[in-house]
Symmetry: C2
Subunit: 191 residues, 2 copies
């Protein structure tokens, strides 16, 4: 019987994110998730049919946790519509995403694991594509400068900037990273 206490389930998925980031996809087992969540052995296996389901839900949960809160959204709505504002919003975005270090690293682990698991790859592909489309749609409605291509190019550049920051943080200094986000918006976004 699959259990359905939603708080317990969310805590297990959050624990899976931490295990993924720390131990890699290969370190993720029901047992390691039980230990991370400090619940009795056997708990995770009552909540998830199999390991793939746990991997998939961990990925979905990272996206969920990265959705900006109401205050951030209100600030975005109230902000200007010039390129300088856009650059500031992108610097904030990079800070917010890289601030959820374990979540982003878990997503990278899931991407690598998906090269070995077609079912996981299909689900992640759908999620990433939907996220990119939502970003494009949101952007085009926002009144901020830039077309769909500029959203895609920023998506590419900022993702690798976050990879760099989280995996090899001394390749670029914080000041260099900030300068590059600003330069990316200035060059990629046409008014």
């Amino acid at each position: 019987m699959v259990r359905s206490n939603p708080q317990r389930r969310a805590a297990l998925v959050d624990a899976a994110i931490e295990v993924l980031a720390r131990e890699g996809a290969r370190g993720l087992t029901f047992r390691s998730v039980d230990a991370e969540a400090a619940v009795p052995p056997g708990t995770a296996s009552n909540y998830f049919a199999n390991r793939d389901e746990l991997l998939t839900q961990a990925g979905a949960r990272v996206y969920e946790r990265l959705v900006p809160d109401e205050q951030t959204l209100a600030e975005q709505r109230a902000a200007g519509r010039d390129r300088e504002t856009y650059a500031r919003l992108m610097r904030d975005l990079v800070g917010r995403v890289s601030g959820f270090r374990s979540g982003y690293l878990a997503l990278l682990e899931l991407r690598l694991e998906s090269t070995r698991r077609p079912a996981l790859r299909a689900i992640l592909t759908e999620r990433v594509r939907a996220d990119l489309d939502a970003n494009i749609g949101y952007h085009l409605e926002s009144g901020l400068p830039g077309d769909a291509t500029s959203v895609e190019l920023l998506y590419l550049a900022l993702n690798w900037l976050i990879v760099e920051q989280l995996t090899l943080p001394d390749v670029l200094s914080p000041a260099e990273r900030e300068r590059l986000v600003t330069a990316a918006v200035e060059r990629i976004v046409r008014e």
Copy 2:
């Protein structure tokens, strides 16, 4: 005693790259490398002092194998110096790097492993920074349009494009990826 047959050593390092890409950093053991290289058990442990040395050499070897051959370099030297040529060179570069699929995936595994291993992180940081500096230096001497910032921004955008292609190849179609490389050069590179 550490053995020194250079062909044998290179074959073991190449085998380590394949194991890293296929099994992840956690799957890399002397035993798995011996099996991948089809050599007697115990061979890898005669060539490398420890697992960290093998990881480090695998990373260095990927960079080595990504250096363009003489023919490619000659074509680059003979090519035009306009933005259209630059875009073509970047499309070729993405094709060449993503064509060494196991090498690029191995580097991603090493980046994630380096979040757990400070010694590996230090060595990779130096290697990646040196590579970026070399790219900037080479570019500024080449006579191609664009400044150091444009090289850095292309480095960011094209790396994530390759991650996307190798991990979730259906998020962007081949035609979309090609269009994005061209657009990246057009927008980021100022003549």
